[in-house]
Symmetry: C2
């Protein structure tokens, strides 16, 4: 690859001058030299080495994002928001998929730190894992001490800038909706046990049961994806024949539940969580608890990019019930 040196030599100037021209420095340069350098750049297809540049200046410009999996629609939506504000700020974003593995998440934080990102946002749920939480806090602290900025989405064992969705209230809303429709026996398809998202949404559902003086809902744990939602539904209906409504802790699993129900002859309500784009296109259209995913991403990125504040900023994101056709009174 052509280097700045090559360009300078070809244009017959020093690297300093070439650099100034290429970067549009404020230092005045004669038009003749400028033309020669620009011509050399084109001829040589010169592109500055980003690493050398980052080393030389010490401003950091890229930002990092750690999600569980970008190809999961939930994170795809959040990422869309993150990207929107990062790009508007002229920043490259590096996306890392942790696939819900705390160890990998930690590795990625280190990797991003090594890449000198200006900020990072952790967009996945928090984990119930004290050991992991300690290491994460340590690494993140070191990063922040070095001038890095971080924002998280969701409830993490860490104080700092965060956008935290109303998972517990959202769960409550879901439960309340079902009980109000007249369901007496409901079941929950939960996500992985070690995620705070699961815990919180479930807690809301349980609170709704208490408020409505019903026994706690039956719970079956699945993996937050469609297929495990589908099989969990099968297991659940077999084990608890009296259940008339199912609350899935995210829309993917709710879609799986719907798929299973399509094949069996039982009229069971299903409510999801998140309001992902598919929700309105499945049949019956999915009743769900909406979270403004893309806005949450945008907000998190704004926090991460904003000047650090002495007080941690915590933005609560309200959840909202979206009634469609997948919930109805029991017969």
């Amino acid at each position: 690859m052509a280097t700045l040196d090559d360009v300078a030599r070809r244009a017959g100037v020093s690297t300093a001058t070439a650099s100034r021209i290429i970067n549009g420095s404020s230092k005045p340069v004669s038009a003749a030299l400028r033309d020669r350098v620009e011509a050399a750049v084109v001829d040589l297809h010169y592109v500055p080495n980003a690493h050398a540049r980052l080393l030389a200046r010490s401003e950091r410009t890229a930002v990092g994002v750690i999600v569980h999996d970008v190809s999961d629609p939930y994170f795809a939506e959040i990422t869309r928001g993150l990207q929107r504000v990062a790009t508007a700020d002229g920043r490259l974003v590096i996306i890392c998929n942790s696939y819900r593995d705390p160890a990998r998440e930690l590795d990625y934080v280190e990797l991003l730190r090594g890449h000198q990102v200006a900020a990072m946002v952790l967009a996945g749920s928090g984990y119930h894992d004290p050991v992991f939480a300690r290491s994460l806090r340590g690494t993140l602290r070191a990063y922040e001490l070095g001038g890095g900025r971080v924002a998280v989405i969701g409830r993490h064992a860490r104080t700092g800038d965060a956008v935290v969705p109303d998972n517990e209230p959202g769960g409550y809303l879901a439960g309340e909706h079902l009980y109000t429709l007249g369901h007496r026996e409901i079941a929950v398809i939960a996500g992985p046990r070690n995620l705070t998202t699961t815990t919180d949404r479930l807690a809301g559902l349980r609170r709704a049961a208490r408020t409505h003086r019903r026994p706690p809902p039956k719970v079956v744990y699945a993996d937050f994806d469609r297929d495990s939602g589908e099989s969990a539904t099968a297991a659940l209906l077999a084990a608890h024949p009296r259940v008339t409504a199912i609350a899935a802790l995210n829309d993917s699993m709710a879609v799986g539940a719907l798929a299973h129900l399509r094949g069996v002859d039982r009229r069971i309500s299903v409510i999801g969580f998140d309001d992902m784009p598919i929700a309105r296109d499945v049949t019956p259209a999915l009743t769900t608890i909406r979270l403004p995913l893309s806005d949450m991403g945008a907000l998190a990125m704004s926090l991460a990019l904003a000047a650090p504040s002495p007080e941690p900023r915590v933005e609560r994101i309200p959840a909202e019930l979206i009634q469609r056709e997948s919930t109805f009174p029991p017969r």
Copy 2:
């Protein structure tokens, strides 16, 4: 941030020794020094500066990916495949969204080049735009001359390693399916005109019409997303009342078409393209032309990571008709 110098000083060794220990160099080092350095690394939360490291070694390790939009399920699937093989190879992948803007795509190629990526894969459709094609070819050539590797997905105006899906044959399959069912008057909801994907799929549909001795299908152009598919359907039905079947050039638009149809009282067949995950969960379940998206991504990344071959490698990906419930004979 702590530097290697800090670590070396704290451990009372030279930076050379510290570097060797940290990188597990083959050079033997006494256990005592090793322990001191490792302790210093932990104490200081030291993480090597990736940029400095890249400058010093000259091996490039990251890879770049340019897609139209990761949050579009089509690209999400492809990206999943790309990531799978890149991660297995221990590489960081940098994802860039061009949002179907050729200029932005060009910018990203330069950016990735600047970041010294070992390889890049262009995962979006090609464009019909000779000027753009020329610049792209130039930049890519310069990149490859510098030792960079590139692979593309789809038909691009460029010779080189590529995985190219059977878009034309797929379009033909879609048309054939519809004509065989007995439809005589069909319409297609196409994607943006400047994409080769649109052209190719459409060409297949037209060929099917000729083969079946039918007039060419009515065409309306939309944006490859759900909402524009929905409104295109409305426009189309108004303009061409005799149409009994619609072929959408991707599943997102097909889903939009289905959504519109749900609201009107007309029994019209819809066939999609791609077989995205949602296809089986909409109602009626979407008949579509399947492309193994995730495998295509994986394959493209393998090509990009493999040693360069003198002959360009072109992998054709067959398309397959998946019959579900959204297509049926006209009444």
